[in-house]
Each structure stands twice: as structure tokens, then as C-alpha cells.
Symmetry: C2
Subunit: 353 residues, 2 copies
């Protein structure tokens, strides 16, 4: 007759210790490679055997409570359904996982209050560091966290405060490459759909665009930039319509990102504009499936997966060393040429409309 079993409680350290005939403290030391030298080799292997046979798995919650470490980092992104982010997340997880860490993911929906409360809850869950993809140029919350000594890496976007370590694409060079590509094709009047100027990506791409025009001896007429209030299809469409309606003359568009470029496609359909014959378009990011569009979109490729993995590596490094060399990394971008760009049909002087 067997003793009655409590509903299959998973084995604890105490159970292992009992089985091996040692004190829980000894079992703990035997199980931890770092403290194993403190216990007799034979005892240690006995403990390990028992742990194995019992299927013992340390309780990370109890461990966290005592050590106040959680083997977890917080991952703050605007919105997971934006196709930009899944590859970033995978890149992060693929580095964190082998290092014994996990990522805890939250979506802020670009809402600053939500962001603050979510980061709060991450911190109370003892995350050891943060990877933040929601940086705005002015971002008091992030400045404050940094001042409090929170380990943190910005990804994809940066703040104006360069003290915060970051991993981003080399947007300036990316834009320059796009302008060079269009100039090579013969375009002389190129417009830019600029993303939100309170984000580093929006601002840097905008400035780089103007600089690149000058470098190619092209006119940097301010009317050749349209501001978009958000990185969305709708805003891209709105901005392009505005430029067309204003009667601006141009033969190519550099969109601040692929979603803005998608908005352009909507306008093409609306107004019977043929791309690239009437108008060339370059996107930014090279999102998944963008090569299946009509026509396939030429886009500046951003290595999102690598952005993620690099940020994770950087954060892990920061977590290990108490004194952390803050640095920021720019990853190189490349232009993926597809069929949305071609030589201009009109001479620069002609009006498209």
C-alpha cells in the first residue's frame, strides 16, 4: 500500500537533498557549477544523479527572490503587428536564449502613458535590462531611467541624448545610396516623404536627404519634402497627394519607410499613375513581402534581425560588467533594387500633372 501522494508536487531542492542524504545548502552548491568546487566531488555527483533522477528543475521564482536577478530583459516595442518588429524580436531572442535569458515583450502602441506603466511593471518584475524600440528624440522617461542606472539599449531609433547606447541602421548613408541610385537613373527632381521629426529615423533621413541632394548638385528646394505625422500608409498617401495637388514637379519619391511607400501605391492606383514610368519610388526597411508588390518595391534594406541580435549582445555585455562602456552602433544598410525605380520619362522641367 503506497502512501498517499500530494498532487504531484514538482521536486524541490529539499527533495534532492533528502534523496542524496545531504543538507539543501550542499545540494544547492553541488548543483551550481560556480560553487561546485566547494563540495566533495563524489557528493556532488551523487546530488547530480539524484536531481537528474527526480527530474529536479530549480524554481526560478524562488531563485529570483533571493538573488534579485531574473534572467529576463524587457523588450519595449510600439506594435508587434508592424512587420518591422518580428525580425528584431527574433534576433534578440536568438541571442538571449542561449545566454540563459528571456525577453519579456510589451506593446506601447506609441502611447507615452502606456509606455511608462508598462516599463514600470517590467521593472517590478525585476527585469535586468531593457531593449527599447520606442525612442523619441526628446524622451524624458528614458533619460530618467538611464540616470537611475537602468541597463538599457535603444534599438532602431535613438534619442537626442547620445549617452544612451543604441543599435540603429546607418540611415544617412542609406538615404545617400537611394539618392545616388535615382540620380544615376537620371532623376533631377526627387521628393522625400519625411517621417515624424520627433524620431531620430525621421529626422536623420530627412537631413540626409537634403544633404545628398546638395552633394549631387541637385536643388534642395524645401517644397520637395512633405512631412508625415506618422509612419503609416494613410500618411504616405496623404503626403503624396498633397505634393501632386500643389503642382510640384518631380519624377521620384524617397519614402521615409515602406509603409509610406505603400501609401504612394494607393495614390498611383487612384490617379492612374504608372510606376516607375511616371514616378519612381524608393522605400525604406525592405519589409517582408515587399518584393511581391506591384511593382516590387526598391527599398533600403535594414538588417532588422541583426539589429536585434546586436542589441541583445550589447545588453548582455552591460549586464555582466558593472562598469559599462556605453557605445552606439550603426549597422550598414544596402539598397535592394527592384522594379519601382527606373529612368524618368519626363525631363525635369516638365510637370507631371
Amino acid at each position: 500500500m503506497s502512501t498517499t501522494l500530494p498532487p504531484v508536487r514538482p521536486p524541490t531542492l529539499r527533495d534532492v537533498a533528502l534523496g542524496a542524504g545531504v543538507h539543501p545548502a550542499t545540494a544547492s552548491r553541488a548543483l551550481n557549477p560556480a560553487t561546485r568546487p566547494l563540495v566533495n566531488t563524489e557528493t556532488a555527483s551523487r546530488v547530480l544523479r539524484v536531481a537528474e533522477s527526480l527530474g529536479y528543475r530549480p524554481n526560478p521564482i524562488a531563485r529570483s527572490l533571493k538573488t534579485s536577478r531574473s534572467a529576463t530583459v524587457g523588450l519595449v516595442i510600439p506594435d508587434l503587428t508592424n512587420p518591422l518588429f518580428p525580425p528584431i524580436v527574433r534576433g534578440i531572442e536568438d541571442v538571449l536564449g542561449p545566454a540563459g535569458y528571456n525577453a519579456w515583450l510589451v506593446n506601447t502602441d506609441n502611447d507615452a502613458d502606456r509606455e511608462e506603466s508598462l516599463i514600470d511593471s517590467l521593472r517590478s518584475r525585476q527585469v535586468e535590462g531593457l531593449i527599447v524600440a520606442t525612442a523619441r528624440l526628446q524622451h524624458p522617461l528614458l533619460d530618467r531611467l538611464h540616470a537611475e542606472g537602468v541597463r538599457m539599449v535603444l534599438i532602431n531609433r535613438r534619442t537626442a541624448n547620445a549617452d544612451l547606447p543604441s543599435v540603429t541602421g546607418d540611415d544617412a548613408t542609406g538615404v545617400a545610396t537611394a539618392v545616388a541610385h535615382l540620380a544615376d537613373l537620371g532623376h533631377r527632381r526627387i521628393v522625400h516623404l519625411a517621417g515624424p521629426q520627433n524620431t531620430s529615423t525621421g529626422l536623420v533621413r530627412h537631413r540626409a536627404f537634403l544633404q545628398a541632394l546638395r552633394d549631387h548638385g541637385l536643388d534642395d528646394d524645401l517644397g520637395l519634402v512633405a512631412q508625415c505625422a506618422s509612419w503609416s500608409e494613410e500618411e504616405g498617401a496623404r503626403a503624396l497627394r498633397e505634393l501632386l495637388d500643389a503642382g510640384r514637379e518631380f519624377t521620384a519619391v524617397i519614402a521615409g519607410n515602406d509603409l509610406l511607400a505603400l501609401g504612394c501605391y494607393d495614390v498611383f492606383a487612384e490617379r492612374g499613375i504608372e510606376c516607375p514610368r511616371d514616378l519612381s519610388v524608393v522605400g525604406f526597411n525592405d519589409m517582408p513581402f515587399i518584393d511581391k508588390l506591384r511593382p516590387p518595391l526598391t527599398s533600403v534594406r535594414v538588417p532588422h534581425y541583426e539589429l536585434g541580435s546586436e542589441a541583445a549582445r550589447m545588453l548582455l555585455e552591460g549586464l555582466r560588467s558593472p562598469t559599462w562602456q556605453v557605445r552606439s552602433v550603426l549597422l550598414p544598410l544596402t539598397l535592394t533594387r527592384r522594379q519601382s525605380t527606373g529612368p524618368p520619362r519626363h525631363t525635369p522641367a516638365e510637370n507631371l500633372g
Copy 2:
């Protein structure tokens, strides 16, 4: 002269109790709405005031250790970069969040070993339940978990074992709608690119396809189904090529999902097939951006966000009630008609090749 402060330790329950001049136990009861009636109203509000002023936040780790609840559920998906999943994840989080729960996400990459070890690690982190999107028809691991009493909801796919609660789309009706649409357009010979038959979605759609053909008085020749080994573009392309090379006669394709349909687009480009003039295609899932393809893809829309939110609601219910009424839900699907489907150019008897 101030006493030296330890590096800003966040306030604990003990600090609150001290400040309010009560025992930690009383403070705990005052803070918890469920036990608050046990303490004098005035005392309770004093505790709340002190907690507020100290910025007290309960330590979820300590709480979890004691209560062995974690306010966390595990979310097991194959691969976050598959555009199917982000909306599901958002649906889940949007329900879990307000209920005080969080989701812990893992990617299995469709690897059974990886899946097992990830679920293991989720369980050792005390997740209270699982939402699983990686079900295969035969899935001993899930059967075992269910037998062990793990709270679990399957999403998107099911197992053969109907004991496991699930939330999926009504695939059979969805396929029937697609077949009806094509039949209405005049198609008589329709092929199906069937997804992996070890998944419920693959099998159900396949069977429903054959049934729908019969219902419409169409030939259900077995040669009109091509098997795909995975839900990928490459497999979709391979399968379509195979059908074409075999000289099969058909005017329309129902792809097991949108990725398989994308593979068809690749073959169209390769072989100069014009869609929908030469061949109509229907996808399945209605992924984001699929309306931007060339031509925009007709697809059976699956409400992924709702799949997620419904699964989360169901799981929460299961977590609250000790006796759980297991049930499974089929969400209705609708056909989104776009330009990849049109009337057949050839009579059924003619060969496309």
C-alpha cells in the same frame, strides 16, 4: 548628517507597515481588495496612503513564490515572423492585460524538441496556463500536458484529440465558400495546394475541398490536389509547378494558405502566366499587405485578432474555475474578393499548358 542609504532599495511591504504603524500582515490585507474587509476601514486607508506616498509596488516574484501563481500564461507559437501570428498575439495580450495577466512568448520554429524544452521552461516559471499555436494532429506532448491537468487552449490548429479546448477558424466552411466563389465564376476544374496533413488546418481544408467539389457536382479527381510539405512559398511554388508539369487541366487554384499562394505568384512570373486571366488563385488567411500584391489576392479571411482574444478569454475562464468545461470554438470565416480571381478563359476541357 544623514544616515548612509543603501542604493535606493524599492519599498517593501515591511516599509509600508512600519510607516503605517501596523504589522506587515495587516498591511498585506489592507492592500489586497479581497481581504481588505478584514481590517478596520480607517487602518486600511492609512496603509493605502502610506503605500501610495512611498510608491510601494508589490514584488510579484515574492508573491508568486508564496501563492505559486504568476499572473502569466505561456504563448507557444512556431515563428513570430510569420505574419499570421502578430495579430493573434495582440488579441491575446489585449485580453490578458486588463485581467492582470501577461503573456510569455516562445518560438518553437516547428521543432518538437525545442517545443518541449520551451514548454518545460515556461512551466518552471510557473505559468498558469498555455495558449498553443503549434498543434499537430498527433501530439503526444500536448496530450500528456492535458492529462497532467495543465490549463491549455489550442489556437488556429487543433489536435486529433478533441478533449483539448481550441479556438480555430471554421476552415471547412471557408473552403466551401472559396469553391462556391470559383464555381460561380464558371470554374469547373479547380486544384488545391494542400498544406501539411499532420496539421488540422491542412487536413480539414483538404477534406473540405473534396467535399465542396462533390457538392458542386464537380470532379473530385485526386490528381487535383497537390501536397505541400510545409506552409511556405517554396512549397507552394513547387506544388504548382508539379501540377503544371504533369499536364493537369485546371483554371483555378485554392491554396492552403497565403504563403502557398505567394509561391504561385512566383510561378506565374516564371512562366508568364497571367492571373486571373490564365489562372485564378484563392489564398487563405488574408494576411496583412496581401491586398497590395500583383494582383491583389482573393483570400479567405481568418479573424486572427479575434482568435487570439477568444482563446485568451477561454483560458482565463479556465484559470478561474477549478472545474473547467472544455469546449472548442470555431470562428466564422469570410471570403475577401480581390483581383486574383475571375472567370476562366478556357473551357474546362482545354489544357492550360
